[in-house]
């Protein structure tokens, strides 16, 4: 399914997954459009029970409405498939809760525009002086996953749980075809590394959530850890087609 490009100047798409984020999604869309009106904002509504889709549409976003809840990974992948179908050259993914500031987008796009990377991860930990201090248990978890992915992927990454990333065409193509369905970020980073994408990371600051709560509750964290560990193990045993970076 390949669509026609929507226009020659609209090459960047912002992919925003959202589930019951009507309180935050409007500002998220506004902020991206204020930052750069040429960016197409695509909100993927993962079958919200509130009016997330309507709010996003009123603010000028393109809304992809999933018929039922498929989880964050599947929702994000819908955005990548859209980007692939519509022929975008680059995509940036932000969360729908407002924790990713649109003003940080240029930092993420820098290495992609320079042709140096296919996937840029907005990391909170590249620079030791970063302001983000997660709770102790979460910090340990993030650190363990980062070390594991670095080891299995053969390249040092510091923040594999970040949902704030930018991709070029090669990255869009990979993730449109291959993206984990629940708790996707950690495994997706490894899949990108093992597929031969050029991955780099830049320091970004993230805000505290303005509304809603993190989808990762204490009760779910055990499932989260076990699931991610298993995915990483399996992903490192699987073979992925080696992609060539878009400009290599």
């Amino acid at each position: 399914m390949t669509g026609l490009p929507t226009g020659s100047t609209k090459r960047l798409v912002a992919i925003v997954p959202a589930w019951n984020e009507s309180g935050a999604i409007g500002e998220v869309v506004d902020e991206i459009r204020d930052y750069d009106p040429a960016v197409d904002v695509v909100v993927i509504d993962d079958a919200s029970t509130d009016d997330t889709a309507e709010v996003a549409e009123l603010r000028g976003a393109t809304v992809l409405r999933l018929p039922f809840n498929i989880g964050i990974g599947g929702a994000v992948q819908t955005g990548f498939r859209f980007a692939l179908d519509e022929g975008y050259d680059a995509a940036v993914r932000l969360d729908g809760d407002g924790q990713h500031a649109a003003s940080e987008i240029p930092k993420l796009l820098g290495p992609i525009e320079a042709g140096e990377a296919d996937l840029v991860i907005g990391s909170r930990f590249v620079d030791p002086g970063g302001t983000y201090r997660p709770p102790f248990a979460r910090r340990i978890g993030i650190g363990v996953f980062a070390r594991l992915v670095s080891l299995l992927g053969g390249q040092r990454v510091t923040d594999t749980t970040s949902g704030f990333v930018a991709l070029d065409r090669a990255g869009i193509e990979l993730f449109a075809a291959e993206f984990p369905h629940d708790y996707p970020e950690v495994e997706a980073t490894l899949v990108a590394l093992r597929s031969g994408l050029r991955v780099t990371q830049v320091q970004v600051d993230m805000r505290e959530r303005t509304t809603g709560s993190s989808s990762i509750t204490f009760v779910r964290s055990l499932y989260y850890i076990v699931k991610v560990m298993l995915s990483l193990l399996v992903a490192s045993l699987r073979r992925y087609p080696r992609l060539q970076g878009a400009r290599q």
Binding site: V63, R65, L66, F68, I70, G74, T78, H181
Partner: protein, 120 residues
């Protein structure tokens, strides 16, 4: 030796299983590809129930000396595990297909509404 009563009850239970599965297929409530493992379960258990010497011999190979019908339980358990594992793979495939369909619907609906807007 296997008590005769165990063999008779085992045989009846196996035949009932096979008949129920066949009836479910006939009524189109069960697809053949998901019934095959159940039919194999029924047939194997029926054979082991009726073929008493065979059950005793197999029990001997496995080192089950005191109570050969225990092999019946072991075989039944093994088949049930196989069926469940098979279903887990089926569910996983269905889940992936469901997600793919949901994504396509979302993409197509957006495209349809865009084309409609343009046509108006």
């Amino acid at each position: 030796m296997t008590p005769v009563r165990v063999s008779v009850i085992g045989a009846i239970a196996s035949i009932v299983l096979v008949l129920v599965v066949l009836e479910l297929i006939r009524g189109r409530r069960l697809k053949e590809r998901y019934a095959l493992l159940w039919l194999a379960t029924g047939v194997v258990l029926l054979v082991l129930s009726v073929w008493r010497d065979g059950l005793n011999t197999i029990a001997g190979w496995l080192g089950v000396t005191s109570y050969p019908p225990a092999v019946l339980f072991a075989v039944a358990t093994l088949f049930i595990l196989l069926v469940l594992l098979h279903y887990s793979t089926v569910i996983s495939k269905l889940t992936d297909e469901n997600v793919d369909l949901a994504q396509r619907i979302a993409l197509l609906e957006e495209r349809v509404s865009r084309i409609r807007t343009r046509a108006d």
